[in-house]
């Protein structure tokens, strides 16, 4: 058999230039046949002298990608060859930059990190809700489409909750990228989506500081250091790092998975809304833990028990985001109360859910002509106050409720966009009351119902009599 290279043909696919030659696989562009998608072929390195994990990585990649329906956030698997004859995977070619392109330029501005990180987190959430955990996230495995959406690639070490974990027992050493690996992965746990959130935090850390949170471990002993050592706070390295960003990064990097964000869409939400991040000690921390704490943690680390993995499918459930659309410009106390009652029922059913109170206003300029910023800010604050007053009777903790005033000529479209960007799970919106002044905004609720990417509950005030 002739060696495989550019110009070779495998099962009708014509190999073009080689675009990656790694330790696990080689990747070629495909020249033909013509099809709707640009394609690549990934050929695992097998044979004498190669590692067993290459074979399993190939099987895992085929199994996981084969199980995922065509989607934005992962490459589509088009075809594959069998392990017994010619193993290969033919996948969609993703054209675009990798997160690595920013990492090499780090530190990156907080705004840029928020934009890239939110896209990354949404892609991750999309994966997690299909019961897949990636487990090998690194800056070279995150790409961006021209539309700005993130695409996660290389599923060779991933875990799909519906399939046997072929890598479960092959782990004499923890497999995956040691730089961003979560503490529970170090201990061999391969079923927790919050491990990916840890890696996401590690990559955000590197974008913010230009350094890796735990350096590049060269031995298992060095790798285990993250079971007790906390990373240097980003603000101690780059003092201009905003507190909100440090808060997000360090929360992702918490040792115990239960102390991290419960789901990646929450990370996306916080990155997209920095002013809504609830700051704790994490956000303002100036230095690492002192020697006494370190000593205590070192002793504890010997008995460290990773958090149990959340059960499949329900694992991304707890952090549901509910958008309550409040017509702050037309306060209607009866309708507000009806919306509160509906929100109360949702919180009673799921005390982890987050309430985003949102109102949409026409841009200030359109109303007040050239009458300056003050009016705009004043109006903004006035509506925030109305939103806060709406939420107060619910008596929710600070970090469970957020407030947003959107400015747009098209309130319905703004609400729908917001729901899509923040991966909202449910929308509560008031129906216009017949005869009331709300008739001035006909059809906002019906337009939201028609276009929303999630469930919409239209709340109506019962008329007396």
């Amino acid at each position: 058999m002739s060696p495989i290279g550019p110009g070779s043909e495998i099962d009708g696919f014509c190999l073009g230039e080689i675009i990656h030659a790694g330790s696990m696989a080689s990747v070629y562009r495909l020249m033909g046949p013509e099809g709707p998608l640009p394609l690549i072929m990934k050929i695992p390195r097998l044979g004498p002298g190669e590692r067993a994990v290459n074979v399993i990585g190939f099987e895992v990649c085929r199994m996981v990608l084969g199980a995922l329906p065509q989607g934005t956030h992962h490459p589509t698997l088009v075809s594959h060859g069998d392990l017994e004859s010619t193993p290969y995977l033919v996948m969609e070619f993703i054209e675009g930059p990798r997160l690595h392109d920013w990492v090499v330029r780090a530190p990156v501005t907080p705004e840029e990190i928020a934009r890239l990180g939110a896209a990354f987190a949404l892609a991750l959430h999309d994966l997690h809700r299909q019961d897949v955990v990636h487990l090998d996230l690194k800056p070279t495995n995150v790409m961006f489409r021209a539309t700005g959406e993130a695409v996660l690639i290389d599923f060779g070490l991933a875990r799909h909750g519906h399939y046997p974990d072929l890598l479960a027992e092959e782990l004499r050493y923890p497999v995956g990228n040691w730089v961003y690996m979560s503490p529970e992965q170090v201990l061999g746990v391969r079923c927790d989506p919050r491990s990916d959130i840890y890696a996401l935090g590690g990559i955000l850390y590197e974008l913010a500081t230009g350094r890796q949170p735990f350096g590049k471990p060269r031995s298992v002993a060095e790798l285990r250091r993250r079971l007790y050592r906390d990373p240097v706070p980003p603000r101690a390295i780059v003092p201009t790092t905003p507190e909100w960003l440090q808060e997000i990064v360090l929360r992702c990097l918490e040792l115990d998975a239960r102390d991290r964000y419960a789901s990646a869409d929450e990370v996306a939400f916080d990155l997209a809304n920095p002013s809504r991040v609830v700051l704790t000690e994490r956000g303002t921390r100036q230095r690492r833990a002192g020697w006494a704490t370190l000593l205590r943690r070192r002793v504890q680390a010997r008995h460290f028990k990773p958090a149990p993995c959340p059960p499949p499918s329900t694992r991304v459930g707890p952090a549901r985001i509910v958008l309550v659309a409040i017509a702050a410009a037309q306060p209607d106390e009866a309708l507000f109360e009806a919306l509160r009652a509906a929100a109360r029922r949702l919180v009673a059913a799921d005390d982890q859910c987050r309430i985003a109170c949102v109102t949409a206003l026409p841009p200030a300029a359109a109303l007040s002509g050239a009458r300056d910023e003050d009016t705009a800010t004043g109006r903004h604050i006035k509506h925030l106050v109305i939103l806060r007053r709406w939420a107060r009777p619910l008596q929710l903790p600070e970090d469970q409720v957020t407030y947003h005033v959107l400015e747009s000529d098209k309130p319905a479209a703004a609400l729908v966009d917001y729901a899509r960007m923040n991966d909202v799970d449910q929308i509560l919106i008031g129906a216009p009351r017949s005869g009331a002044r709300t008739r001035l905004l006909p059809g906002v609720s019906s337009q939201v119902v028609a276009e929303a990417p999630c469930n919409v509950t239209v709340v109506r005030v019962r008329t007396e009599g």
Partner: protein, 247 residues
């Protein structure tokens, strides 16, 4: 080739009929009945007639411990409820059914596939494959790419890792699992006639050899009728109730 695999049918006519209809609708063209055709339930004759008809058309059938007990072979470790049902079953069977059961083998091998009721390691001892250790013994003794078995009523799939230890996996119903023949697999296909994992739907598996996929299915069936017949036959009440609850 699509092979439908049924185990622990236990004289449950409604369940096995529902599973067969389900498998046929998915294009099954071969069948295997992995033992414990009778016992517990009230329809031994109808179930045996059905399986014998499939056997005449080439289906694989192996003997289970309840089947052995029903034809008077010494079998240990049957619970009092099971003993009562076996005594009742024995009285129902005619010569032809007894002859059919007596002629069943403990294992059937077809190329790289092995069919057995319990463990491939001394099948006559009816060892429960209840964990990786028992699975390893069965896989080593079976020496096949695929071992299909029953006896344990909970569906489970073991695959042999490179380290020589079988890894357990709880299959998700309806999800086709890639089962490439370069690994060794041991599939406990779940119980068609008496599921015990708190899910009262009948359980079976379908192996698609062309695509190297194994899919477990849960099929709802009319357990009310089955339970009614068990009560009418005067069999222990518990045997009726557990079908309703899936325990």
């Amino acid at each position: 080739m699509k092979l439908a695999l049924f185990a622990d049918i236990h004289s449950n006519l409604e369940a096995i009929t529902a599973c067969l209809v389900h498998a046929q609708s998915l294009g099954a063209d071969r069948y295997a009945f992995l033992g414990d055709l009778v016992g517990y339930g009230a329809d031994p004759l109808a179930v045996l007639d059905l399986i014998e008809a499939h056997a005449a058309k080439g289906a694989v059938v192996v003997l289970g411990n309840h089947d052995a007990a029903a034809i008077g072979r010494p079998v240990d470790l049957l619970s009092p409820g099971a003993e009562a049902a076996i005594a009742w079953t024995r009285a129902q069977l005619g010569d032809s059914q007894r002859a059919f059961l007596a002629g069943l083998p403990l294992t059937v091998r077809d190329d790289n596939v092995l069919f057995v009721h319990a463990s491939a390691n001394s099948p006559e001892r009816w060892t429960y494959v209840s964990g990786p250790k028992e699975a390893e013994q069965s896989i080593r003794a079976g020496n096949a790419s695929y071992i299909f078995c029953g006896h344990v009523h909970q569906p489970k799939l073991y695959f042999m890792g490179a380290g020589g230890r079988p890894m357990p996996f709880e299959p998700v119903p309806g999800t086709p699992i890639p089962t490439d023949p370069h690994r060794q697999w041991l599939a406990i296909v779940g119980s068609a006639g008496q599921p015990r994992d708190r899910n009262n739907a009948a359980c079976y598996a379908l192996a698609d050899f062309e695509r190297a996929r194994l899919t477990y299915f849960r099929v709802p069936y009319d357990y009310d009728s089955t339970a009614r017949k068990i009560r009418a036959a005067g069999l222990p009440e518990r045997l009726a109730r557990r079908l309703e609850r899936g325990t």
